[in-house]
Structures are given as C-alpha cells and as structure tokens.
C-alpha cells in the first residue's frame, strides 16, 4: 500500500469527523477519512450522527426571550 493509500484506524477517523464536516482538514487528511468511510460502515454511522448533532445544535441556538425581560431591556435602552 503506498503512502497516499494508507488506511487510518477508526479512532482517528472518528476524531477527525467534525473537522471533516467543517472542511478543516488538509486534502490528504480529507482523502484519508474518505478512504476509511468507504469501507467502514460503523464510522459512516458515526458521521451521519455527527451531521445530525450539528443540525441539532444549530436548531437550538436561541430561546424566545421572556416578554418581561424584553420590555425591561428595551426600557434600559431608552434610558441610556
């Protein structure tokens, strides 16, 4: 197996999944992860779940502000 076809272990692939999804890996590292995913079903599951978790976090970014808090803060702005 040549250097550019090396196989990384599951532990490394999982560690790099989020950086892979964020496109923060070098082209070589990205190719390593893709090669691993092509044959490892469990890590594919990990990656799908990492995507789900990213969407989950993004969808819970903010809460409704309670009306009394909003009113209080708006009054503060007017009095500045």
């Amino acid at each position: 197996m040549s250097a550019d076809e090396r196989m990384i272990p599951c532990s490394q692939a999982v560690r790099e999944l989020w950086d892979y999804l964020d496109q923060r890996l070098s082209p070589e590292e990205q190719a390593d992860v893709e090669r691993h995913l092509a044959f490892c079903r469990r890590c594919c599951g990990e990656m799908e779940f990492a995507k789900e978790l990213q969407g989950f976090l993004a969808s819970h970014g903010a809460d409704e502000i309670p009306p009394d808090v909003k009113e209080h803060l708006e009054r503060l702005v007017e009095e500045l």
Partner: protein, 209 residues
Amino acid sequence: MRTSRKARHDRSPPAEDETEADTKQAFERLAKESIPRLFGLARRLAGDGAEDLVQECLMRSYRSFDSLEDPQAGLAWMQRILVNAYRDQLRKDSRAVPEVPVEEVDEFSLYRTLAEEDPLPYSDSLHVDFLHSFGREDVHAVLMRLPEIYRAPLVLRYMQGFSTKEIARLLGAPLGTVLARLHRGRKHFEKELWGYANEADLLQVRAPR
C-alpha cells in the same frame, strides 16, 4: 441606507443636537432589533446571568457606538461586545477556569453508546429519535452542565455560526486551543446528553401502539 455618524461628519456636519438625537435614535433601533438575538446568545453562554450580560453589552455598545463603521453589521458587532463582556466576567470569577481532566470523555462515543445500550428498542431510527426526545429546556440544561471553557466555543461555533478564527480572537485564545476545546466540548456534550437523558427519564420505553 443609513450612514454612520462618522460618514455624516465627513460631509456637512449638522447641528450638534440633531446629530446626537440621530445617533441615539440609530442606537435605539439597532439595540431593540438585536435584543432577542443577544439574549439567546447570552442565555446559552451565561445561563441565569443572561439578562445582566445583555445589560452590560447594551451599555458598552452605547458607549462605543461611534466605532461602529458598518451599520449593516450592527448585530455581529454587538454579539462581539457581548462575548467580550462574558469573557471579562469569567476573568473576574476565579472559580470559572478549571481545565478538566477528560481522558475518559475523549473516548466517549454517543453513537456507539446508543447502539450498544439500545435505549429505545421500538425505534427504527434510534439515534435521531434519541435527539428528538430533548426539548429546548433539556438542551439548555445539558449545555449548563458543561465547563465554561468548553461551552463557549461550542455555542459560538455550532449554535451561532462564528468561524474558529473569530472565536479564537473573541476568547483571546490560540486557534489550536480553541480547536482542542471544541473537540472536547463536543465529546462532553455527547456524554452529558446521555447522562441527562438517563437522569431525567427522557428514555422511558414506549411500546408501539
């Protein structure tokens, strides 16, 4: 499009009172539009201290409103001020700086844990259904269980969409440190999701009807 106070000065300076009134009005408009988003960010960062943090942000923003060059970027400018204020609060509070030993956290995989424990045996899509069992307040409670040094990068990157470079600048930490904390923050988050789901009985088995 509204021009900045500086830009207006460069052309023909209006009467001083008028300029001040315009500036105050422009600030009020920006601040009131931004309050809901600022509160959302503050609550994710500081929990119960959110309202105080937004107040501090509003006062700082008002004092330095002249430095806002691009009014279209007003919300992002205020978000940065809020994160700065949060960082200053952490500095003052010496209890808030523990770097946690997390070897076992590094190895935790929520995906594998769910597959092995199978807490929702009637589910066809276990992992997704697990996440759907969390309400908004549950997610907030899980975030509050994370040490601050991990929570802040996680919130800023994945909930608010800041770039990692911007986060490094905002938190005054090297990029490598931010990336390492993001990694551990994700692992912590996964582990706390699992712990919370068990403690709060989110996973009561329901047989299909």
